[in-house]
């Protein structure tokens, strides 16, 4: 069953079409990876999905409802959650308060400590977020998304800056939350993509270049040329 769908979604910046008439469909309960070279339009596409940016054309449908004109906070209330590529936590607030702010709005205030344990930050609740290491701030970002128990969790490069052990923990975590939560994962780490994703969407220059299972994508010649063959992965 479809959870999210875009139709001819387009966004331009000063003459560059960052997202070019993208038709994108996400099924309930799947883990989808979104990959592509830098500048392919991945973050722009997810910003259009969550409502941080308004599209120039096209539409976004979430849970059968047209949300194209809804602002970001309204889409979050419908069950979307988003973690930032560039860590964007409340630096001067304690870790637990960061998670509590996310939890309370979703009516899940009782789940703060449990979520910190799950992402691997047990006992760190009283630390100021700015005093966490970069990797731990990434984990806090994930906790803030997770605690909302969203229908759709959009993770923008979640494993960037994480240690190997933390990446393994992250993989376990994602496996635990599906199928209740649908996951859209922007990821450069191909090992994570191959291990987690049910399907992979490849973007290049604002368009969807290919879509399929991890194995099919690995075998796709066009993808090889655009992305996998380069030294970026």
């Amino acid at each position: 069953m479809t959870l999210l769908e875009t139709r001819a979604l387009t966004r331009r910046f000063a003459g560059i079409t960052a997202v070019d008439a993208v038709d994108f469909t996400l099924d309930r309960g799947e883990v989808r990876a979104l990959i592509g070279p830098n500048g392919a339009g991945k973050t722009t596409l997810t910003s259009l999905l969550i409502g941080r940016l308004a599209p120039d054309a096209g539409s976004v449908h979430f849970g059968g409802r047209d949300v194209t004109r809804l602002p970001a906070h309204a889409r979050v209330r419908l069950g979307m959650a988003y973690t930032f590529q560039i860590t964007s936590v409340f630096a001067d607030l304690p870790v637990s308060e960061n998670v509590a702010l996310a939890a309370r709005r979703a009516g899940r205030g009782a789940h703060v400590d449990e979520t910190l344990d799950r992402v691997g930050l047990p006992g760190r609740g009283d630390t100021l977020a700015r005093d966490l290491s970069y990797g731990h701030q990434r984990l806090l970002e994930i906790a803030m998304g997770l605690v909302q128990a969203p229908a759709l969790l959009i993770l923008d490069e979640p494993t960037q800056g994480l240690a190997e052990a933390e990446i393994a923990g992250f993989r376990t975590l994602v496996r635990e939350i599906v199928p209740d939560t649908t996951v859209l994962l922007i990821e450069h780490n191909m090992a994570v993509v191959m291990a987690l994703a049910d399907r992979v969407t490849v973007m290049d220059r604002g368009r969807v270049l290919a879509e399929g299972t991890p194995d099919a994508i690995r075998a796709d010649a066009a993808v090889q040329a655009a992305y996998l063959g380069t030294d970026r992965c």
Binding site: R52, H73, A74, V76, Y82, F90, A91, L93, L101, R104
Partner: protein, 309 residues
């Protein structure tokens, strides 16, 4: 612990009524009313991160919202106080709806302009406001529930009541989820919106509340000290609460009182030392800003007590 400290301050200020001499009693009453104004300012600036340069218009809205109905229509003080709160809330809501379309420097300039417009209106409608000189509320009218506010003890206790109610309100607010979300907006508005909070509506609410408290302080000032005047609508009275809050500790409940009292006595002391008292006061302020950028209560929070609300 939190309530203990703040209720202790409230109790201490109450007991001072029977300890202080007449001169100091008058000063502390004035400080408590002005600290109420600072606490109102702190809701917008300290907690929500909205730097307004025009709060004098809300102080003046309360002052004239109370003064005009009492002076021209003979309304009793209790009813006029309610009118003053309504004026502050209404002006606050109107300004918030317009000024919050801008952010940062734009917000500062727009609030400054609205305050200037308010000031000019006070001068323009001199028939109602008596312009520059303002008017003096007759002593006979300055009673609250039958008690004469020209009596020093009653005036002190009325100032204390206004201050204490506001302090408890802001403390309650700061520890409630609503107050925590205001802090989240101050820290990172984009993030707060992406957690599902409707940040714009909350900023409008914060400015309206801030304006209403500021108006309560303006009304209290007119009622307790008997005079109104356009001076209270000048830009100086928009800058003062900013200074008080910065000195005392922005985003702390107790900071506005500390800052207001500190600056009051700093100027008091400096004018004993030299006629160039503002230069001396300025030097102390610069030093304090350098060594305690979070203000006095901010310093306490960072060094001694992290949980200070």
């Amino acid at each position: 612990m939190r309530w203990g400290l703040h209720l202790g301050v409230v109790a201490g200020l109450l007991s001072l009524n029977w300890v202080l001499g007449a001169y100091a009693q008058g000063n502390v009453a004035r400080i408590m009313v002005l600290a109420t104004y600072a606490m109102g300012y702190n809701v917008a600036f300290g907690y929500t991160g909205l730097l307004s340069l025009g709060h004098a218009m809300f102080f003046a809205a309360g002052m004239y919202g109370l003064g005009i109905p009492m002076y021209h229509f003979g309304l009793p003080a209790e009813a006029a106080f309610v009118v003053a709160l309504g004026c502050g809330a209404g002006l606050g809501l109107g300004v918030a709806l317009l000024a919050l379309r801008t952010i940062g420097v734009g917000f500062m300039i727009v609030t400054l302009m609205f305050a200037q417009a308010t000031y000019l209106c006070i001068l323009y409608f001199a028939g109602w406001t008596r312009g520059d000189e303002g008017f003096v509320l007759p002593q006979s009218a300055r009673t609250l529930f039958g008690l004469p506010l020209s009596d020093p003890d009653i005036r002190y206790l009325a100032a204390w009541a206004l201050f204490s109610v506001t302090l408890c309100l802001t403390l309650w607010l700061a520890t409630r989820p609503f107050g925590r979300v205001l802090v989240a907006i101050r820290e990172n508005e984009d993030r707060a919106a992406l957690l599902g909070y409707r940040t714009w509506a909350r900023k409008v609410a914060a400015v309206t509340l801030s304006a209403t408290i500021s108006a309560a302080a303006g009304a209290g000032y007119a009622l307790l000290f008997g005079n109104t005047g356009s001076t209270f609508a000048t830009v100086q009275y928009s800058i003062l609460p900013l200074l008080w809050v910065l000195l005392g500790g922005a985003g702390t409940v107790i900071g506005p009182l500390i800052g207001t009292a500190f600056m009051f006595y700093l100027i008091d002391w400096a004018s004993d030392v030299t006629t160039a008292y503002m230069a001396l006061a300025g030097a102390v302020l610069v030093a304090l800003t350098l060594f305690a950028p979070g203000g006095i209560a901010g310093w306490i929070r960072s060094r001694l007590w992290r949980g200070l609300p």
